[in-house]
């Protein structure tokens, strides 16, 4: 059963085009030029109940905009979306009681008050039954291990502790859909891990649907089976994390340990040499040629050890992002549709 259905979702807005220099600023008083920004350029997506989906993409790719559209904070320029059967931007209170949005960079708790006061406010706003409220709260507080911090003003909490409180606040009304925008941003490794562990557990137990955006590949690898890559306001990949590598990296990494310190000097003919630390060499080898290169090496040299690996995920994604960004710059004015297909094609050249 699909919980989220999106068809051709688009969002564009105008920004004031500021010009350099003092004189230009003055003229800006009287005449303004605006630039149309297409934050989201036609997204189609279906998410089933109980899925944990990650949105990946470079800054400004449209991830946050998509989450805001789905939570009804902003209205799209065109397209359709349904979450739990509701059109988000109609903002029915019934819908608003069934999802939650957590933004890592913003906080919704009262800054100067202990978190528990904000929780009580949420109880009233969401109309949560007192017994259900207490039970949910105690459970969440227990899971996240923040019982001792409930009475402390939020401003005195560490970033990680604050994020846990934000999560509790968002989950008090037991939402069926959860949107997480960079929930681990700025956190240290331990805090990141704790949040990941909690999210994983909570999602499995409750079977809720979660959409997560993150910069940290660790978050994604730990939590999501399905990855949606957005770049330039469009979806360029939708599938498994492993699939990203298959699809967007055109090489594998061959690591060879030569015997007797006798390394051939012309390793470059197999591919780009990435690391040379005799007797070991790491070479990027074209995917299609891996078999022949391997045979060649084994046949002609004495080898102690050999391994073939996929390139690290971060690297693949980083180069994918860089590529899409470059393409966007190239096609900034021309109205070229950057589709998933040509991104992939360009990646292979």
């Amino acid at each position: 059963m699909s919980v989220i259905e999106i068809h051709g979702l688009r969002k564009s807005y105008r920004v004031y085009q500021k010009k350099e220099g003092l004189l230009a600023s003055f003229s800006g008083l009287f005449h303004r030029e605006y630039r149309e920004v297409n934050a989201v350029k036609g997204i189609d997506l279906t998410v089933d109940k109980g899925e944990f989906v990650a949105f990946l993409g470079p800054n400004g790719a449209g991830k946050t905009t998509t989450l805001k559209l789905l939570s009804g904070v902003i209205t799209p320029t065109a397209g359709e979306a349904r979450v739990l059967g509701y059109v988000p931007w109609e903002r029915e209170n019934d819908y608003r009681r069934r999802f939650a949005l957590v933004m890592g960079q913003k906080n919704q708790l009262w800054w100067d008050l202990p978190a528990q006061e904000s929780f009580q406010l949420h109880q009233k706003i969401y109309g949560i039954e007192p017994t259900a409220f207490k039970q949910t709260k105690d459970e969440l507080v227990d899971l996240l291990g923040v019982a001792k911090l409930l009475g402390q003003p939020v401003r005195e909490l560490s970033l990680g502790e604050r994020m846990k409180m934000e999560l509790i606040a968002a989950l008090l009304h037991s939402p069926e859909v959860l949107f997480l925008d960079e929930p681990t941003i700025g956190l240290d490794v331990v805090a990141q891990h704790n949040i990941q562990k909690f999210l994983k557990h909570y999602q499995q137990v409750r079977g809720i649907t979660i959409l997560l955006t993150s910069h940290y590949m660790k978050d994604v690898a730990a939590l999501c089976k399905r990855v949606v890559i957005i770049a330039g306001g469009e979806i360029v990949h939708d599938g498994s994390l492993e699939g990203v590598i298959d699809r967007f990296s055109d090489y594998k990494i061959l690591t060879v340990d030569f015997a007797d310190d006798r390394m051939p000097s012309d390793l470059a003919r197999f591919g780009e040499v990435r690391e040379l630390a005799p007797p070991r060499a790491k070479i990027e080898v074209d995917r299609n040629q891996i078999a022949s290169v391997l045979t060649n090496v084994l046949a002609n040299y004495s080898i102690l050890d050999v391994s073939v690996e996929d390139p690290p995920l971060e690297e693949v994604i980083a180069s994918l992002f860089a590529l899409t960004e470059k393409q966007q710059r190239d096609s900034q004015d021309a109205n070229i549709a950057t589709t998933a297909a040509n991104v992939a094609a360009a990646g292979k050249n």
Binding site: K68, R96, I125, G127
Partner: protein, 279 residues
């Protein structure tokens, strides 16, 4: 889960705000002291002016038909209405432009509760309470000192009603201004604007007369009804009831309803623009 009980939610706002104010106790006390001294200094200023007017020897002193103690009732009414506006709405309106800038508005838009209610009332400023008491004390002091005034029960009933109506008109102006800050992206001068506009309401409407005064009085009575805010309740209490005042008193009711409706419309429009202009 069901619809929120708005009263319960408001109670929580008030409670949380009180907790917050009490955490910053020193601050609260200072704010109270200076809120009250502001009012007292204002009172002092008019005392000085009346003293100067008496000092010229002709034995009478009034500003546009308001004797000293009538004017004190006027000032008390100003303090009363302003303390209500400050207590309930001011901090929220100020925060609105901040919320727009920092993106905190997004969270408010997610809540299953009327957004205008949430954004208008989530902060209650308890430091306005002592000013309210001061205003009542000033009323109790001034009313018996007004020459030849006997108050009827109707006046005592109408006064609080018109105080509430006046407060609501000011609220409408304020939230309307705050909502425009969403349009403009940022509005540092919102506070000034508010001050300048309401500044007109702080004086008896009778002073606006003559070639320029009359149109001004017309505009600020019938188009932006801020002259009604203080003048109608103050006159209800400080001056004898008279049939000539009824049209204006009836208009005040209409003006309140209309202001609320207009401000609601502006607010909704502003949210709509935020939703389509933001990313």
């Amino acid at each position: 889960m069901h619809r929120p009980n708005y009263l319960a939610v408001f109670w929580m706002f008030a409670r949380n705000s009180l907790i917050r104010d009490m955490t910053f106790r020193t601050n609260y006390i200072i704010e109270v002291i200076f809120g009250v001294s502001w009012a007292l200094m204002n009172l002092g200023f008019y005392t000085l002016i009346y003293r100067l007017m008496y000092a010229d020897g002709d034995g009478h002193a009034n500003i546009a038909g308001w004797s000293q103690y009538q004017f004190f009732v006027f000032i008390a009414t100003t303090i009363l209405v302003n303390s209500l506006v400050e207590g309930f709405f001011m901090a929220n309106a100020e925060e609105l432009s901040e919320l727009t800038r920092t993106g905190g508005l997004d969270f408010a838009l997610l809540k299953p509760i009327d957004t205008q209610f949430l954004l208008s009332l989530q902060r209650v400023n308890w430091s306005a309470v002592p000013k309210l008491i001061l205003a009542l004390a000033l009323l109790a002091y001034s009313i018996p000192r007004i020459d030849g005034l006997t108050l009827s029960a109707i006046q005592f009933l109408l006064y609080p009603l018109y105080i509430v109506l006046g407060t609501l008109i000011l609220y409408s102006v304020m939230i309307g201004l705050a909502a425009t800050s969403i349009w403009l992206g940022r509005n540092q001068s919102l506070y000034d604007f508010w001050f300048y506009i309401t500044n007109f309401s702080r004086y008896p409407m009778e002073i606006y007369e003559g070639t320029f005064g009359s149109p001004l009085r017309f505009v600020f009575t019938y188009m932006i009804p801020i002259l009604v805010v203080i003048n109608v309740p103050a006159a209800t209490l400080a001056k004898p009831l008279s049939a000539t005042n009824w049209p204006l008193a009836a208009f005040a009711v209409f003006a309140t309803v209309a202001s609320l409706a207009v401000s609601r419309w502006i607010f909704q429009r502003a949210l709509m623009s935020y939703r389509s202009a933001s990313s």
